[in-house]
Amino acid sequence: MSGFNKVVGSYEEALAGLEDGMTIMVGGFGLCGIPEGLIEQVKDMGTSGLTCISNNAGIDGFALGKWLEGRQIKTMIGSYVGENALFEKLFISGEMEVILTPQGTLAEKIRAGGAGIPAFYTATGYGTDVAKGKDTREFNGRNYVLEESLTADYALVKAWKADTMGNLVYRMTTQNFNPMMATAGRITVAEVEEIVEPGELDPEHIHTPGIYVQRLIKGTFEKRIEQRTVRSA
């Protein structure tokens, strides 16, 4: 690695320095837009005691579901358990700490963390369990909850294209949590489908500017579909 070239040669290099007990963000919504190879690498490294911040936790036996199987996650911060049986079991039994966070609040906590804002007020969750123990305040006759922002030791994101300087472009609905997480990682690792030379991406179309990305790797993606729904012609 030299200068602004963020490309690393291996998954080992991409996740060098990741240790037990760290906080790690993982981009994606369901299985859409997840950094598959980086997730696999963390599984292989066996890193444990992790605080994992991700909207979902994969599905049984795939993606973050593998970290659950290996009991690598101590605390999970996400918005949706859904149809993930192991996640639900670990949560209900108390084996894994789970901090369920409203999806918009989660997105904003990460956005704020990456932008250097320690906390913000939102109406979301006022009067519910989510607001328990948190400061509340009234603005213009409406009640709001003080939510603290999130940052991470490592943020693992998935993009479509990158240039070697780490400028990222996402495709369709794979954007989801990836752009905010890219800003909130002390070390952000982007796994992408294609890496091009600087100048090949239109500066007007960059979603994540390279300043946020420390390491970049070209991956291969299975892109498994959770719910294949089609119409007939």
Binding site: L31, C32, Y80, L100, P102, A107, E108, R171, T173, E226
Partner: protein, 219 residues
Amino acid sequence: MALSREQLAQRVAAELRDGYYVNLGIGIPTLVANYIPKNIEVMLQSENGLLGMGPFPLDEEVDADLINAGKQTVTAVTGAAYFSSAESFAMIRGAHVDLTVLGAFEIDQKGSIASWMIPGKLVKGMGGAMDLVAGTDNIVVTMTHASKTGQSKLLEACTLPLTGVNCIRKVVTDLAYLEIHDGAFHLIERAPGVSIEEIKEKTAGRLVVDGDVPEMKLA
């Protein structure tokens, strides 16, 4: 006769207006997209980052990179936009979405809603529901009036963990269309063939019935 899932969706669709940006939740709310009146245009917002959701793709059009908030493969209509989750919830929290339709386990007479967990039994997570009920004024909740064992879901006070407080004003059940204000459910329409007596019997919360209650018109 209680309404079918399709008829519920059909009744909710009558709340759509030309030019609305609409967020449809998972389950029955998703079916509303099948009953958008022909003479109006609406844009469907999916909170994972899509404004302008289209129908399910043809088999050869399926793209793993294009899904809705229910993780189903979908398409995008002409004029659609993709964005991040932060942008998506700025739209929602900032009250830019005109109508939200979502399901629930329980609703109470003050307009509070419970929809995301049953302690010790079922944990779905709130997903975007807490943000949606906090961000939109115009919310329609659609659900069955009572559980399979006959327990009312329209209560004096919710018993399950809340999704939002005092935020729901309209409810479409398989038996009735009701509005919530002044600490009561107000019966506005009956499902075709359903008696006021049956609705009274299956509503545990305070119910106000004012004169003759018309039957729903399902187009």
